[in-house]
């Protein structure tokens, strides 16, 4: 099947653009980038068509061989990675198309597409990798690409430091991931998925106390927290909005940040046997969802709102994973990729149309001026708010329902978060598209002449429309049984999470798995009514959010300010994101900077290392200052030394000979 072609194609594009793009015309750069990315998408589709029997793996070449431990360049494709693969290549391709229009006026056009293709390469490596190490390479690589793209406008200080922040925070997570890998090597002697999962599934579930699998699971979760912006490592994602909007859409909404979810889902065999780790995942997911949503309510920057929304939605996905509803998480991942990608792209289109303004308070009334953007944005907003029959409804509903089956607390917070989500999304919607235009007339919008608020070019609108279609219809593949659907998605992906658990060993103690299977097997018949009721509740929560935001931001626009003043302290805290950044600065950043500057730099580097070097250099200079007089420039003196040296050699040789 030549799976390796899929990641390699974007790499080729990146290499060509990176090496020669400087001399290419913009058209050619775009052609190369789109061509290779599209080729990867086409190949992925072909691979999807060819995939039969659930899974396929191929090994290209051995990579590391150390004793019995071996890591190969191997690629693995099953329904789980296929979903990811199609989302990444498909949405990625659309965003590539969009970027051509969005970035057309920017400097470093070729550089942007080089990075973008490079990101595709690493992301596809992450998705298709047949072992943890290859996945880790992709994991690190997307971090690199993310860093490069966040800091794309590297002359802007905030962009550069946002890139650094993302990179460093990710390092923390990667550290956990790496330790998890070491543990796997230590205890399983392999990093290949099938071997690791095979061995893990033969172990007993660790219900009480923390065992090996729990440790590995928690460490993996640390990694996932870093990559997928969960508490406590979410702080980089809002700042990452400094990057160009297509980057936010592709990396920080649709694909990269979901890598953590993918990884947890991929490692389900480990998590299923570590209930404590699963609980942690669920709690973190829930808390993140709620926490980010509350922050999102107060944000005024359109992209920041979306960023917190992303964090919140990612929390949903982790909640799904945490309640062992992996396929629901992946389902939400897919629909989220559609509507969140669309939201970002549409937001980009809005920003583009009014000349780079991102503050929602300076927007308004754009409905008429940019109708296509408005309508696609509307589709996406309804999707994320969870209105049927939009895509987000099905996936979110699925998650909430499965969460309820584990604990009502999860469900309650989930529903409240859904209400908040609907509220702040419609707040964004109303502030942007309704009412009066509050900003000043955009200044001639860069260089390309056409001043005034204007619709984006067609090359940007076409991806918007396609994604809008997907946001509406993308959820229909997973209509649950209670609503008269067959939940095809669950059937499609689900087997991955069961098939990977081999029949051998330890069936008696697989509580979670049994529970899940029970739920699946019996749920359509026994709980259909209950489920419908819960569906109704969540839909009404979303409706409530819509009405509230309409009330506050369309009807009584002076009310929000008054409310803010009423709960002044709380509002301030939320507006400042609960002072988490400041807390981190005090707790971690400042001690680190102080420690490294006072102890490491002043103390060790200056005092020990530099001093050693300086002193030895001074000593060498002093010594050579005295013996340099030997080098008098007089040939005969040199000859004298040579003669003396020769005499010394003769003495030595004779001494040896005599002895």
């Amino acid at each position: 099947m030549r799976l390796w072609l899929i990641p390699i194609l974007p790499l080729l594009g990146a290499a060509i653009n990176g090496l020669f793009g400087r001399r290419f015309s913009r058209q050619l750069v775009a052609l190369v980038a789109l061509g290779f990315c599209g080729a990867a998408f086409a190949w992925a589709l072909w691979a999807a068509a060819k995939l039969s029997g659930g899974s396929y793996s191929e090994t290209i070449a051995p990579w590391i061989r150390a004793g019995a431990f071996q890591v190969n360049f191997s690629f693995y494709l099953d329904h789980l990675s296929l979903v990811m693969l199609l989302v990444v290549t498909g949405v990625g391709f659309l965003i590539h198309v969009y970027s051509v229009g969005y970035m057309w006026e920017e400097g470093g056009f070729y550089r942007f597409f080089c990075y973008l293709n490079l990101f595709m390469f690493f992301m596809l490596t992450l998705v298709l990798g047949g072992n943890y190490l290859l996945m880790f390479i992709g994991w690190e690589g997307v971090g690199l690409a993310s860093y490069l793209l966040i800091g794309f406008w590297f002359t802007r200080d905030s962009a550069a430091s946002a890139g650094k922040k993302a990179f460093i925070v990710n390092r923390v997570g990667d550290f956990g991931f790496l330790i998890a890998l070491f543990l796997m090597i230590r205890h399983f002697g392999s990093l290949n998925f099938d071997q690791v999962f095979g061995m893990a599934s033969r172990m007993n579930p660790e219900t009480a106390g923390a065992g090996l699998l729990t440790t590995i699971g928690l460490l993996l979760m640390v990694g996932a927290c870093g990559k997928s912006a969960q508490i406590p490592l979410y702080v980089w994602l809002p700042d990452a909005m400094e990057g160009p909007t297509p980057v936010s859409a592709l990396i920080h909404a649709a694909t990269m940040v979901t890598a953590g979810v993918y990884m947890v889902a991929r490692s389900h065999a480990i998590f299923e046997r570590a209930p404590m780790a699963l609980t942690v995942v669920a709690v973190i997911g829930t808390l993140t969802a709620l926490f980010a949503a509350t922050i999102g309510v107060c944000q005024t920057d359109i992209k920041k709102v979306l960023a917190y929304s992303t964090i919140s939605q990612l929390g949903y996905m982790f909640l799904a994973c945490g309640v062992a509803a992996f396929s629901a998480g992946i389902f939400h991942l897919m629909t989220h990729a559609f509507f969140k990608g669309l939201l970002f792209l549409a937001a980009g289109s809005v920003i583009h149309s009014i000349g780079g303004e991102q503050d929602m308070r300076k927007m308004g009334g754009l409905r008429k001026k940019i109708p296509v953007t408005f309508w696609t944005m509307t589709a996406a907003t309804f999707a994320i708010a969870g209105f049927p029959p939009f895509a987000g409804f099905f996936s979110k509903d699925e998650i909430l329902w499965r969460a309820y089956q584990v604990s009502w607390a999860y469900w309650l917070i989930g529903v409240f978060t859904a209400f908040l989500t609907a509220f702040y999304m419609f707040r964004l919607w109303f502030l942007t598209f309704f009412g009066e235009y509050r900003g000043e007339e955009p200044r001639a919008h860069g260089e390309h002449g056409h001043g005034g608020i204007h619709e984006s070019p067609r090359v940007m609108l076409v991806p918007l429309v396609i994604l809008a279609g997907l946001s509406i219809a993308g959820g229909w593949v997973g209509i649950p049984g209670s609503l008269g659907g067959g939940n095809q998605f669950e059937r499609f992906v689900g087997p991955v999470f069961h098939a990977a658990i081999p029949a051998g060993g330890g069936e008696h103690g697989r509580e979670t798995a049994r529970q899940e299977r029970e739920a699946e097997g019996s749920e359509p018949e026994t709980n259909a009514g209950t489920e419908l009721m819960f569906t109704g509740i969540s839909v009404s929560a979303a409706l409530l959010g819509l009405l509230l935001s309409w009330w506050l931001y369309c009807k009584r626009t002076e009310l929000p300010g008054r409310i803010a003043r009423a709960v002044d302290g709380f509002y301030e805290a939320v507006l400042h994101k609960y002072y988490v950044d400041e807390l981190y600065a005090i707790l971690f950043v400042k001690p680190l900077i102080d420690g490294s500057s006072k102890i490491l730099w002043q103390g060790i580097d200056r005092g020990v290392i530099d001093a050693t070097l300086d002193n030895s250099a001074d000593g060498a200079r002093e010594v050579s200052d005295t013996i340099r007089h030997m080098q008098s420039g007089n040939l005969r003196s040199y000859a004298g030394w040579v003669a003396a040296g020769a005499a010394g050699v003769i003495v030595y040789m004779i001494w040896i000979g005599v002895r």
């Binding site: 005969r636 000859a639 003669a643």
Partner: protein
């Protein structure tokens, strides 16, 4: 019949004369000649050892030494001419600018 050591002693004397010449002579050309003298001393021991061990390679070595000496003297004398042109002296004690 001459013992081998006689040849070696002669060769050693020539070599020592060469070294001494290098040390005590001030004229660049004479110093250069001292080097040739050393080479000749070594050549003699080569030939003597060749006869002693019945190996012609010693004589071939002498041949190579001569070729190298010829090349060396060509370049060396050219350098001496160049030095004389710029410094207008052949006294090695006055050609001592190359130092720290």
């Amino acid at each position: 019949m001459v013992p081998l050591s006689y040849y070696l002693v002669l060769s050693g004397i020539l070599f020592a004369c060469g070294v001494t010449g290098f040390l005590i002579k001030r004229n660049l050309i004479t110093i250069f000649m001292s080097i040739e003298l050393m080479l000749n001393g070594v050549n003699l021991s080569f030939v003597a050892f060749a006869a002693h061990w019945h190996a012609l390679s010693g004589q071939v070595f002498v041949f190579f030494v001569m070729v190298v000496a010829a090349a060396e003297s060509a370049v060396g004398l050219a350098i001496i001419i160049a030095v004389f042109r710029t410094r207008e002296t052949l006294n090695v004690d006055q050609v001592n600018l190359l130092k720290l």
